[in-house]
């Protein structure tokens, strides 16, 4: 049996359904966003872990020059080590039919019989390699797809100086190469970098690595200290050319995937906060108005013996129904979006397992946070209803208290029409309400700014990185450092316009207890092709001596200009020396360290040595240049800027732009929610005044002007406010999405502001017109009869 009071509740809800739905939708947006982000986050983390677990992804990784297989037993004896796998891993230059540009591959050994102890493969098609069949390989699925490879297809590769035929027998995925990043690259490149698995015996034979290995990975026993194991492993590998072991969190593919997944948690926080804040405000104004309208009803209820709490509970139920409606809708939407998003990411990362984990906890969080925000929003209004003394409520509300506005006090009233004065005094009477209405509209504008910002940031970043900083067309890397004259060989290739050599040295930078493995890039004194730029687009000169660090790297190592770092070189004789930080660069990608090339040579106590060169080429001769480079034995890889740009677009653009549509939809939900609700409330509060004005001879247009003028002023004020808040959010967002691998620039184009303002004005106008239609239908006689 529904009590009479509950029946009143239902009818109140149905009478105000436009407003109720608008608010519920705003809450739903916030909940949907929260549920979507958190379930996707959880699902992906679980899928990632399941994938790692099932295919025995290692926990510590180390590269070295060459060590005898017997060392494996000593590694196994290190305290805390569970399982050890030694491998032979070699880089090769590929020759793929129909592809002129050079591609590189990484050959990784696998046992010919049985699965690898660690880092196993998920075979998608074909079969495993077999004993005694030369040239058989399994290829990574992404690379195969990019080239249309099927089992049975062939390609050629330079193995240790001789061209060999590789026969693809299987297509597979590995937890180790979810993202395929060529060495020293900042971005994945699925077309020009491929990972292949080959039988261990063959690989050993091809690279003279019999009974030896140059790569070791291992897992840890529960409770073992990763740092301690790494320290001891490094000690064992040092004399075999080890370049420093890393933990799983630093493994490049894992880091890339994990960081991207973590970005979801930044989104799970910012937008829902805005939505629920706006919803709280809307509930506040709607409920305040409802309670004002029902002042006498409240008095009657109390007169007949309903307690203060009965009355408070009645209005709290009104709010709860709206909030729970929003939570229910938002949860369903969030689950739906979350499932789609999880599926999309699962496909993007090629996880062989799809798990969508709908965590009840997430739904509870969504519901609790939303109800909490709603109750916080209506706390004041409900307290008002509770405290309303019945005898006082029985008398009509005293006339509202109006004051002369600032305009009146300044004696400017003659400049304003009667209508304009009414509008201003109304706003002046309830500045809090006007401010929060403005703030609500401003929030929707801000969300639009944030939504479009991702596009701006990507355009800017692309322009910055690929047009301002990197002006080369190709980057050529050599297998080993060669004498500085080698650059002349490249310059002499037909079609090469300019060449700029570089030296790169893998090092571990140490500052106190903090350390970081990076490559020091030695550049020419005044680079023209590969320029160092700071975030303000100034060219940073390469210092004559000392080390220049990415600001992010400086932050990670907690060093600033003038500090001295310990540099452990991770190749050849592995000297450990000191270098002074002479500058920090505010760049966007990676954690880089730069020096002048000759200064780096001097630091290494070597002659003039280089590791590669940046080339500017005549694009008409591209194919010829590629052919020439492929035939140059010392060239290990060639990376192509256009390809990098494309990969950049695909990697970042897709992910960030995906959110754009969501944001626009969400922003409109807020704008409509705020504008429609405040217009309806103004209409309700003022219908008597406006009716009176109509009776004494004002036209419909004039009274519409008064009501919509108020809305116009509030919207106009919201525009600069929203731009300001949007800019602030963009700043938070660029900080929130910042990772070690890349940073997102803080730039917003003027068009972004303009579009956001236009969308908001349009939404405001449409709502205004809807309410105006109601105003036109105002029944003058009825309006004057009603007491409120």
């Amino acid at each position: 049996m529904v009590s009479s009071l509950d029946r009143k509740l239902l009818r109140d809800l149905s009478r105000t359904k436009g407003q109720v739905v608008a608010i519920a939708v705003v809450i739903a947006c916030g909940v949907a966003m929260l549920v979507m982000c958190l379930t996707t986050l959880k699902s992906l983390e679980n899928s990632q872990l399941t994938y790692y677990d099932r295919y025995r992804f290692a926990e510590v990784f180390a590269l070295l020059k060459r060590a005898p297989e017997s060392l494996k037993d000593r590694i196994q004896e290190v305290e805390g080590v569970a399982r050890v796998q030694t491998r032979v891993v070699e880089g090769v230059v590929l020759d793929i039919e129909g592809m002129s540009e050079p591609a590189v591959g990484r050959l990784i050994s696998i046992p010919e019989t049985g699965e690898p102890v660690l880092n196993s493969l998920h075979l998608r098609s074909g079969r495993w390699v077999e004993v005694g069949r030369p040239g058989e390989v399994i290829v990574n699925e992404v690379f195969a797809e990019n080239h249309g490879f099927k089992p049975g297809d062939k390609l050629r590769a330079v193995l240790n100086g001789s061209m060999e035929e590789l026969r693809i027998v299987g297509i597979a995925m590995s937890p180790e190469y979810i993202i395929q990043m060529p060495e020293a690259a900042l971005l994945p490149d699925d077309k020009r970098f491929g990972v292949f698995w080959m039988g261990r015996d063959q690989l050993e034979a091809a690279f003279n690595m019999e009974s030896a290995f140059n790569d070791v990975t291992l897992t840890l026993l529960p409770g073992a200290s990763e740092d301690e194991v790494i320290r001891r492993l490094d000690g064992l590998l040092e004399r075999y050319g080890g370049v420093g072991a890393i933990g799983r969190h630093n493994q490049i593919s894992n880091r890339f995937v994990s960081e991207e997944i973590q970005q979801l948690s930044a989104m799970a926080f910012i937008l829902p906060t805005i939505f629920l804040g706006v919803a709280a405000f809307l509930l506040n104004i709607v409920l305040k108005r409802l309670i004002a309208l029902e002042r006498e009803q409240i008095a009657v209820l109390k007169a007949f013996g309903y307690s203060h709490w009965d009355v408070g509970w009645h209005y709290l139920k009104f709010v709860s129904v709206i909030a729970l409606g929003g939570v229910a809708l938002g949860t369903l939407l969030g689950i739906w979006f979350g499932r789609g998003m999880t599926a999309m990411y699962t496909e993007f990362y090629r996880f062989p397992v799809f798990g969508f984990d709908l965590d009840l906890g997430v739904i509870v969080i969504g519901a609790v946070v939303s109800l909490g925000a709603a109750f916080l929003g209506v706390f004041g209004a409900i307290r008002g209803a509770i405290n309303l003394p019945p005898a006082e409520a029985m008398r009509p509300e005293p006339p509202a208290n109006y004051n002369a506005t600032l305009v009146d006090r300044l004696g400017l009233r003659k400049l304003l029409s009667q209508e304009a004065r009414i509008v201003l005094r109304e706003l002046g009477r309830k500045p809090g309400k006007a401010f929060f209405t403005s703030l609500g509209i401003a929030m929707s504008l801000a969300i639009l700014v944030v939504g479009n910002y991702s596009q701006d940031a990507i355009n800017y970043l692309q322009d910055f990185q690929f047009r301002l900083a990197e002006r080369q067309d190709l980057t050529v890397s050599f297998f080993e450092s060669v004498t500085g004259n080698a650059v002349n060989h490249l310059t002499s290739v037909d079609g090469v316009i300019a060449a700029e050599e570089f030296r790169s040295v893998p090092v571990r930078l140490r500052s106190g207890h903090l350390s970081k493995e990076v490559g020091i890039q030695g550049l020419v004194p005044k680079p023209e092709l590969f320029r160092l730029m700071d975030a303000d687009e100034n060219v940073i000169p390469v210092p004559d001596e000392g080390l220049l660090l990415s600001a992010k790297l400086g932050e990670l190592l907690q060093v600033s200009v003038g500090d001295v770092l310990t540099v452990e070189v991770l190749e050849d004789k592995r000297p450990i020396r000191q270098l002074t930080v002479t500058g920090l660069v505010n760049d966007f990608a990676g954690t880089a360290a730069y020096m002048e090339r000759r200064a780096l040579n001097a630091f290494m106590r070597e002659g003039s040595r280089i590791s590669g060169a940046y080339l500017k080429i005549d694009k008409k001769l591209t194919d010829e240049i590629y052919r020439e480079l492929k035939e140059t034995p010392m060239v290990a890889s060639v990376s192509i800027k256009d390809a990098a740009m494309k990969s950049f677009q695909e990697t970042f653009a897709e992910n960030l732009l995906r959110m754009k549509l969501f944001n626009i939809g969400f922003a409109c939900a807020i704008a409509v929610g705020v504008v429609y609700n405040s217009a309806r409330i103004s209409l309700s509060e003022r219908s008597r005044d406006l009716g009176t004005l109509r009776v004494i001879g004002f036209t419909r247009g004039e009274i519409s002007g008064i009501l919509l003028g108020e809305l116009g002023v509030v919207t106009a004020a919201a525009i600069p406010l929203g731009m300001g808040i949007g800019t602030g959010l963009v700043y938070l967002m660029s900080k929130g999405l910042e990772t070690e691998l890349y940073r997102i620039p803080f730039v917003v184009n003027p068009q972004t502001y303009a579009v956001a303002a236009l969308v908001i004005m349009a939404a405001s106008l449409i709502c205004g017109l809807i309410v105006r239609r109601k105003l036109d239908k105002l029944d003058l006689v009825e309006v004057l009869k009603a007491r409120i």
């Binding site: 009479s4 009143k8 009818r11 006498e296 009657v300 007949f304 013996g305 307690s307 003394p389």
Partner: protein, 235 residues
């Protein structure tokens, strides 16, 4: 002599309206008796509504004591006042104060939902002659009908006292008489102690006792030797 229901001694009520202090009541002594029909007569501002609100537990006096069947109401706290209203008092207001989103029956049920021993809502509406209009919303009824719904709502809980604040103030003679008829019938048939406040002297003719108020004080108390029936009244 019937038992005393209310006994008020030396009650004053001072309102602060901003910086102005309004003395609504200035030392009023009054008693209401079991089953009695009393009319409190006075012009607007005489303090009659304030007195009714205090008797009904909607307001508390600034000074003085009020007892309800020997219990000191001035010592009641908020929840005791609520309990008192819930169990003992039925109100009728000048502007009916029905909940517009509820039908006649539902408006009555609003009270029967929380009363200990209520009449059936339909029966209460039958008593005021609205047995046929149970499912109409307030906006579908005339003023007189709405006021009769308000009376049905007030009596449905079988209150000990029925307090009516200008029940005919917004009505014409014809509908006003129909409303007074309903009140008279409740007083007679259910024996409910009834107090009606009005500025209309004609209505005083149907009371057992008439209390005149002016400027926050009782100026005169008169007992009607012969009462008129509601349908004999005219103004």
């Amino acid at each position: 002599m019937p038992a005393t229901v209310f006994s008020a001694k030396g009650i004053t009520k001072v309102y602060s309206m901003g910086e102005v202090k309004v003395h609504a009541l200035r030392g009023v002594d009054v008693e209401l008796w079991e089953g009695e029909f009393t009319v409190l007569l006075g012009h607007s501002g005489s303090g009659k509504s304030t007195l009714l609100n205090i008797l009904g537990g909607l307001d508390v006096p600034t000074e003085g004591t009020v007892t309800f069947r020997g219990e000191d109401m001035t010592a009641f706290d908020e929840s005791e006042l609520t309990q008192y209203r819930r169990e003992h008092v039925g109100f009728v207001f000048q502007f009916y104060n029905l909940i517009p989103s509820l039908t006649a029956r539902e408006n009555v049920e609003l009270v029967t939902d929380i009363a200990a021993d209520p009449l059936d809502a339909k029966e209460a509406l039958g008593l005021v002659g609205l047995g046929e209009r149970l499912d109409h919303f307030p906006s579908q009824m005339s003023g007189g009908e709405q006021q009769r719904v308000a009376i049905a709502r007030a009596i449905a809980k079988q209150p000990d006292v029925l307090l009516c604040d200008e029940p005919t103030g917004a009505l014409d003679v014809h509908t006003g008489v129909a409303v007074l008829n309903a009140i008279e019938r409740v007083n007679r048939e259910l024996g409910t102690t009834t107090a009606v406040i009005t500025h209309n002297a004609v209505i005083a003719e149907m009371a057992h006792r008439v209390i005149h108020l002016a400027d926050g004080k009782i100026t005169e108390t008169a007992v009607n030797e012969s009462r008129k029936r509601a349908d004999e009244l005219n103004w």
